[in-house]
Symmetry: D4
Subunit: 252 residues, 8 copies
Amino acid sequence: MKNLGAMEILNGVKSGELSPEDALLKLRLQPYEDLGYARVDHHRELRQGIAEVIYGEGKTAEQITGIASAMLSKNQKTILITRMSSALAEAVGKNHVLKYHELARVGIIGDMPEPNGIGTVVVATGGTTDLPVAEEAALTAEALGNEVVRLYDVGVAGLHRLLSKLDVIMKARVIVAVAGMEGALPSVIGGLVDCPVIAVPASIGYGASFGGLSALLTMLNSCASGVCVVNIDNGFGGGYLASMINHKRGAE
Amino acid sequence: MKNLGAMEILNGVKSGELSPEDALLKLRLQPYEDLGYARVDHHRELRQGIAEVIYGEGKTAEQITGIASAMLSKNQKTILITRMSSALAEAVGKNHVLKYHELARVGIIGDMPEPNGIGTVVVATGGTTDLPVAEEAALTAEALGNEVVRLYDVGVAGLHRLLSKLDVIMKARVIVAVAGMEGALPSVIGGLVDCPVIAVPASIGYGASFGGLSALLTMLNSCASGVCVVNIDNGFGGGYLASMINHKRGAE
Amino acid sequence: MKNLGAMEILNGVKSGELSPEDALLKLRLQPYEDLGYARVDHHRELRQGIAEVIYGEGKTAEQITGIASAMLSKNQKTILITRMSSALAEAVGKNHVLKYHELARVGIIGDMPEPNGIGTVVVATGGTTDLPVAEEAALTAEALGNEVVRLYDVGVAGLHRLLSKLDVIMKARVIVAVAGMEGALPSVIGGLVDCPVIAVPASIGYGASFGGLSALLTMLNSCASGVCVVNIDNGFGGGYLASMINHKRGAE
Amino acid sequence: MKNLGAMEILNGVKSGELSPEDALLKLRLQPYEDLGYARVDHHRELRQGIAEVIYGEGKTAEQITGIASAMLSKNQKTILITRMSSALAEAVGKNHVLKYHELARVGIIGDMPEPNGIGTVVVATGGTTDLPVAEEAALTAEALGNEVVRLYDVGVAGLHRLLSKLDVIMKARVIVAVAGMEGALPSVIGGLVDCPVIAVPASIGYGASFGGLSALLTMLNSCASGVCVVNIDNGFGGGYLASMINHKRGAE
Amino acid sequence: MKNLGAMEILNGVKSGELSPEDALLKLRLQPYEDLGYARVDHHRELRQGIAEVIYGEGKTAEQITGIASAMLSKNQKTILITRMSSALAEAVGKNHVLKYHELARVGIIGDMPEPNGIGTVVVATGGTTDLPVAEEAALTAEALGNEVVRLYDVGVAGLHRLLSKLDVIMKARVIVAVAGMEGALPSVIGGLVDCPVIAVPASIGYGASFGGLSALLTMLNSCASGVCVVNIDNGFGGGYLASMINHKRGAE
Amino acid sequence: MKNLGAMEILNGVKSGELSPEDALLKLRLQPYEDLGYARVDHHRELRQGIAEVIYGEGKTAEQITGIASAMLSKNQKTILITRMSSALAEAVGKNHVLKYHELARVGIIGDMPEPNGIGTVVVATGGTTDLPVAEEAALTAEALGNEVVRLYDVGVAGLHRLLSKLDVIMKARVIVAVAGMEGALPSVIGGLVDCPVIAVPASIGYGASFGGLSALLTMLNSCASGVCVVNIDNGFGGGYLASMINHKRGAE
Amino acid sequence: MKNLGAMEILNGVKSGELSPEDALLKLRLQPYEDLGYARVDHHRELRQGIAEVIYGEGKTAEQITGIASAMLSKNQKTILITRMSSALAEAVGKNHVLKYHELARVGIIGDMPEPNGIGTVVVATGGTTDLPVAEEAALTAEALGNEVVRLYDVGVAGLHRLLSKLDVIMKARVIVAVAGMEGALPSVIGGLVDCPVIAVPASIGYGASFGGLSALLTMLNSCASGVCVVNIDNGFGGGYLASMINHKRGAE
Amino acid sequence: MKNLGAMEILNGVKSGELSPEDALLKLRLQPYEDLGYARVDHHRELRQGIAEVIYGEGKTAEQITGIASAMLSKNQKTILITRMSSALAEAVGKNHVLKYHELARVGIIGDMPEPNGIGTVVVATGGTTDLPVAEEAALTAEALGNEVVRLYDVGVAGLHRLLSKLDVIMKARVIVAVAGMEGALPSVIGGLVDCPVIAVPASIGYGASFGGLSALLTMLNSCASGVCVVNIDNGFGGGYLASMINHKRGAE
């Protein structure tokens, strides 16, 4: 009954009980939300019919189970749970039909939606050690209704592998490029294509990789135009932004 | 006559002078470009009819004048010169009709193109000290054919200023949010809208702002989905990526 | 019998046994404390009737039990034990009636005192992962005699949640704002209120959060006046300073 | 006529032109500010009758002169201009009676207000090189209506100087402790007093002082309770917060 | 049958089915690799008859066993597996005759090749704690066909130990100098010899060694000419580059 | 029989078998040590009759037992083993009478020597968490023949505790000051005394203590003359240098 | 008449005017210094007959001239002024006979004292670019009464230069080793001698020398016992501490 | 007459004046160099007939002129002066015929030597801003007797430029790859070739390039084998090491 307060005030104006001046004063003192201001959940429209997202880290199986039940009761078709341990997946799986992707630490309740984006989202990665981050990005994009093409193991130290897939990356609508160590993949890809490249640094490597910092700096310094960066290991963020760009939003 | 070499080889095959096996061997030894491989200038199409960009830093007035003349001779309508000092602008201005934006250190030869993007690009900034970076972003986006709405001085420490412009930011197709010091603006905006937010850290401030590093870290850690980051002070990069997202590219 | 030494010297002067010159010489060689100089325990008055604090980290159950017993024997009503593991709590609980707050890792022996501060202390936090630090701050403030209002999960990426509580934060006497990741909460709150805001960075997050460093820098760079910062994860320090500001001290 | 829009809507309800439901819908679309929400200028009350503040950095003499004129026309008694170069001061001084404090780079138009705080604000500093920051803090606090006691050159490497002023610091309501290099002053003072200590790192020193970073870290790690920290060289921030604490605000 | 596509096109030209122009167009669209471009495996020649390398980190025993089997079936004589845990070694050892070097975490299948380099590779190290990295370098160099001389425990804090081996280091063709802590060994050696010195920082030490960062910086700042650096703990990289320098490659 | 080689050459000159010219040539090719150059073991004299030191980290019980046996067979009276785990101590204790100090992780075989230094070495520390490092320093100094006075828990946040021990610190010949967190103790002590102060940062603390880095920077920036710094947690280094200063060496 | 207050109180006790109890109370309220506590100027004795030191940075010629005049009037023989620009030296030189050492930026009024230390202080440096720091150290030590031997240009990349001076460094009582870039000199020297080595990092170099940080870290990680470190470029601190160690102080 | 001392001692043995025992004692006290030990100037042979190098930074024109004169008098054909300002070049040019390369800040006296290395040294660079560092490397290599091929402007963001030069880089004996910003060039080249790649980070760029640190980290983390790194902007070091590798040294 959120807007009741505001409605009562307005009804009071209508009935003459309240002068407009007093009503305005009262309205000012109402809590913000009560005015139904704008966007109680600004992502609702985006996810409608697609996926809801639960950030699994630090949540208990009971909490996740409960949230998922509530979502399902509202006819949610797809629920994406990120940063989910296998133990958590097992526990949640007792109450919900959950498909668990161990590498990406992602659990999915329900079916993946049909892709409804403008084009394809390419998720590229330099080596096999980047796969967990890349898969988090890819699964996120799929759960949000995108056709995803995976280009794994196309690192810049073996350029022929990347170049043999030129056709794939040149047809992408947006590219998520995951890389650890030297993190040069987004720059090289950014120099080859005309679409946005979202760079995701991975915390793999050793020594002077400094937990992904080195890759992060490389990506921020990219000489290729059209490259932007998200947080280290933030595969979800990369996939989410890619989906945003691949869907028509904001305009018309 | 770039592909002549390859054509001659193929003609040799046609005429029987070369066996296909020998031709393949020869083709392998040809320089990459000679094969007409892909994208001699991968940005050409993007800029067609819109703007060419010259990075002014470290170039002499002679060099810029020469490059611009060559571009104009190919019917280029708009030329954007970034990181251009006022002295440089004055010197180049002797040979070309150049409009110089001192704050943004941007020079423009020719007219701004008509906007042809999907929606509007909003360039937001927290304070007046961020203006040089924000203007570089805004002018870049305009020169690349975007309608730009400037929302300046809407920093998070005075939230009412930002909230009074909710309608503007909620109608944007993509937002470039420039901020120095604590750099929280992109996070707050990202929580209010459904479109991509490109965060540009500014190197303003003093003390623990560490030349923009503090703002950069804030932005990378944004809790709002849909936020990505470019290099410190990289207004051009922010405007360029915004234009990419605001134009249909890559697909169909 | 702390001042006996000094008193004996002075009695020696009185009795003529010591010349004033010799007495002065002797006094100079007395240990500092013996002169009753100033504040043997400068926090005594503050904590009188309220809580004594034991820093639990690195102490054994025996040590804590012993210190607590000594405090209780001096009629101490409330004892706050911070950074206490659950194992430690269990062990100490065998000898003292201890209420253990697992999330905050805080144990309390005795009853919480009645609030006797000037106004309310608001403890705000951006997300659920910040709760351990926030609870340490809240419990500390309560144990030191403050009325505490908890505003949890009001992060800047969902501004409506914070704005719906405007009335609460605007009535605060002092606010402790805990935030990890981008750490923008104190800035936003600081821009909304007229009271001191104590920012506490939390070491949560991943990647470029660098164990709270990112949030720390954000807070130090806050554009909002009236914001100050304590160490990462230092909920106790935040709650303690808030209590100081919320009580009349130093003057009259 | 800011609230006209909202008033017109409410008048429409009163007159029956608008149903309460439609009115609510319309109100939601109104810009935030139009609803008169809360605090157009949340600092107004604080500064009423005391000082307005202009951040001088990056402003032209014309801008400052204009802002000051507008303030004076509203009967503002004291205007504090921070981060003001001597050249700027000279230029502004042509139109306004301005007292310039070169060391602190602070200009003041009008008279200092009578102190109306609860107690005294002590501004302490370790050495003479910290004076610019300390003076910015002291002048800010004075301009905001505080009685300020300056304790300069009481660095921890010469403890007797600080100890000889024990009476002064123990009577303070709040202390601003400025220090560069090792930055230990706030810790030592914090251990001696019961009032809040606001630590301000100064960017003085050389080598491993790293522009104030070393002092900043020291202060954040202070073992003394009741110490908080503001940005490096942020004398204004320290003085402002001190004034907040020294005035009754937020409560009753 | 990789080049079949290209060959078919060329045969089409030969037979007149395809015009050279159409063929060129088709060739451009072929994947890069299909053209047999350059170096499918650019390291093949280098390793021919010597060792193949498998990076063990993150691979399962099954994966390694499979890769090794494939290599052996192609008559590979020596297989070097780096970053291999003892558990992994035991598991792989069930299917292959594997010699495991626990200190270096290196496993070797097959026999070490006969040295065929120009001269000797000296691997020097300051203390016993650097041995794991040094052994990785030494075994790598041996597996790649180099005569290796180990000079362990010749740290700069006991210069006489290094000087007593002057004859050995002065006869080296290339030196790999491993050092943690202060990392001064490469500088001192670089000042004594005329051959390239590859410095490998080790992540040993404590406190301000910062996981090898201190040693890394020391080495980068070396005043001795002819010193270069690889990543922290990258013994493999050091040994590999040493082998490259010690073999004739690239020219004639 | 170290110098035999050189002696044989010289005997050859004496007997006429070798010309002086040939002898010089041969001498040049002798290993450095063989010439008896300088200091085969430059620490021998220092430790004569006092303690030999074994760095325990990374050594096995067998290695330590063996080294100790060899030392004892040369009539070594005291053997100090640093960085020794309790497990290691137990194992070594089966073959040698070993006294193990768990807090300091130091084992001692044999008796502590009589102090023979010039004066006393004071080891001071701010809190109880610094004790492991402080005890390593104290035991090292004692094992090297120094009278050590321990001043624990005299941190700068409770100045009266330090000042009550003024007489002790002012009589010291050299002071080792251990401190974590803000690390201000050496500065304060350095300002009170005329003797060298060796500052040892401790890696205790949390948040912005950054593993001792904060304390390290504080100490390097000390405004007090006569303060120098060793590595984080390097209690041994502090005790060793203190002993050097407290003994007459080099000159006389 | 500093102690008058305290004496008057004691005389009051003697005369019976004051009870010992009242006297104790009054004494407690006396300023610290009034009690003649300890060390009004703890460095006085040290400098007696030797040099007084003025830190020139940030002082005006008038200030320095005045301080120097006051010192001379108290029969001070030698005055050392550090961090003094040549302009400052010229200005001060108009009133005092001042010898200016431009390289070290040190000015000296009066004559150097006769050396009265235990042995020699060796100041060693790796290259000519370290000279300013080394000379500051050397002149400081000389001004404080030490015989100084300069060993310049003995960097570790040319070991023979250092080794040819083995006799000099092995006779030193204490060594100040200045080095920039890789900063390895103190480690190498520390391994050769039995006396304390004070390492002074120099901010010379470029790139990864990071203003002396690299050299600083190297020195802190020194494997040689007996090495301690002072701040970057702190030649004065190195010379001062060397003098302390080279003079009998603290004991007997 | 360097070895005279040693010879006299040996002659004394021969003549019976000295016993071998006394001689050994005396020999031990001789300065190191006197024994003719090894390498008075270990670089002599390398540079024989090629170039001598003078590091210009911090040297006066007089010093450089003098050193050069001495070198020329010993028939030195080529003298390379690095880090030389144009002012310095002009001054030195008054006494010597000097060719000055302004971009590289390199001066050369005499003629470039004929190349006598094994193969070619390729110096590659990503953009025009890297040219100063690249030219320092190229001129150094040429002055040391290498045939140098310059590949400028082949940055990874425009891969076709690099790929069109595949033949050049694949024929190199050693490659110096200079890059700023993201610094990915060496990785990409290292993946294409079989020869050593020396990576030189350039301090160009802005924002998160942090003076070349970003490029440095990228290069250290290179996934391509055979890549090593020298200091930021150390073009000389890169060219010098390349020359070492390109010449036969150390062996036979």
